[in-house]
């Protein structure tokens, strides 16, 4: 028995484009408090999102198709009429430049170790978690599924 049943409207918007729009079975999100999944008829919620991985489930409820996106931070608003996810940037697994992500992860890590000023540490930390999220999502395509 699957957790999925009916579908609801999901929209993912970045500053420069609408990334996704359509009916889905569920969407798993990297919430600021904890990761969680929104299913149809979820209680209205507004939640901040951390850099991480988003999983969209669609298709047959018993044998759902999963799609992954790497998110930088954002915010989700779910109401009865549908769910809106506002993200600064999001990438499909096949768009991710693994080498670049590796490089920025390494750079952020070094900066984190070296930096004395608090503000730089915050920025480096954010950059580190963005890079880590990208790499995790990129691996999804290599291994084929989730």
């Amino acid at each position: 028995m699957s957790v999925y049943s009916t579908t609801f409207q999901l929209r993912i918007v970045a500053p420069d484009r609408v990334l996704f729009e359509g009916g889905v079975l569920g969407v798993r999100l990297p919430g600021a408090v904890a990761p969680f999944e929104i299913l149809p008829r979820h209680a209205p919620i507004v939640s901040a999102l951390e850099p991480g991985e988003l999983r969209i489930a669609s298709g047959d409820p018993d044998n759902p198709q999963y799609r992954y996106l790497a998110l930088s931070d954002g915010v989700v608003e779910s109401t009865r009429s549908g769910t809106d996810i506002l993200v600064n940037a999001a990438e499909n697994p096949d768009e991710i430049d693994v080498e670049r992500a590796e490089a920025s992860k390494e750079r952020a890590r070094r900066r984190l170790l070296a930096s004395a000023k608090e503000i730089n540490a915050v920025r480096a930390e954010a950059s580190l978690s963005r890079a880590a999220a990208r790499l995790r999502t990129a691996k999804r395509t290599e291994s084929g599924s989730g």
């Binding site: 918007v13 600021a32 608003e77």
Partner: protein, 284 residues
Amino acid sequence: MATLRQIRRRIKGVQNIQRITKAMRMVATARLRRAQERVLSARPYAEALDALTERLIKSVEEYDHPYLRQGESGGRLLIAVTGDRGLCGAFNSVIVREAMDLSDGEAEIAAVGSRGADALERRGANVVSAKRGFFKQLEFENAQQIAQEAADAFAEERVDAVDVVFNRFRSALHQEVTVKRLLPVSQPEESAELAPPEIEHLYEPSRGEVLDQLLPKQLEIQVWQALLESNAAEQAARMNAMENASRSASDMIDELILERNRVRQAVITKEISEIVGGAEALKS
């Protein structure tokens, strides 16, 4: 009076200029279409964000954020958005003039676009930062960078207000100089019309913390929209300017051709009368 050869050379020259202005017009038209699409595709995000932020600010009690600070020193930062290139009519100069008027020689100016940056520096404005070459390939990161600098100036209490001055894209024929207040974030007035939502939302981590995240984003988006609008307006302005230039070139060519024919006719007439005169002299 110009000689025939001089006139012919001028016709050639004007024709060459016209060829260039026509090509530039076509390029601007193509770019305008793309720029317009970008303005439109930025709207869903901005609208969703504005709606959410406004609702949150209204519903949250005792919220304080650096962006809401109401300072009284009167220090001001103007973000003046122009283009990186010329040949677009009054597009750049109207922004420069507006920025000079508003700043009164005192306000700090963050110039975006090398045209504006150069002109403002020349006129002795207090240009604290100049961004050049952003419009070659406009990315959201550019807006984030500008927003960050403005936010820093505001947070450090160097200035008490941040405005953006840019050309708003109204239509392909019409651009409008617009001044928009970015900081402090205006607090919506209490209004009764906003009915309480039927079910209270859950907020994670909390309303305040969600707002903390939304306000900087909103600032970035407002800057981003100003850049996109200005970009579209610039292409539109250039398209019109080049259209006018091509038309003027056509008029000029027509006049020169008329002049050339007149001169040529005069030369022919002169030659005939000389031949006739010569023949008459031989006869007698």
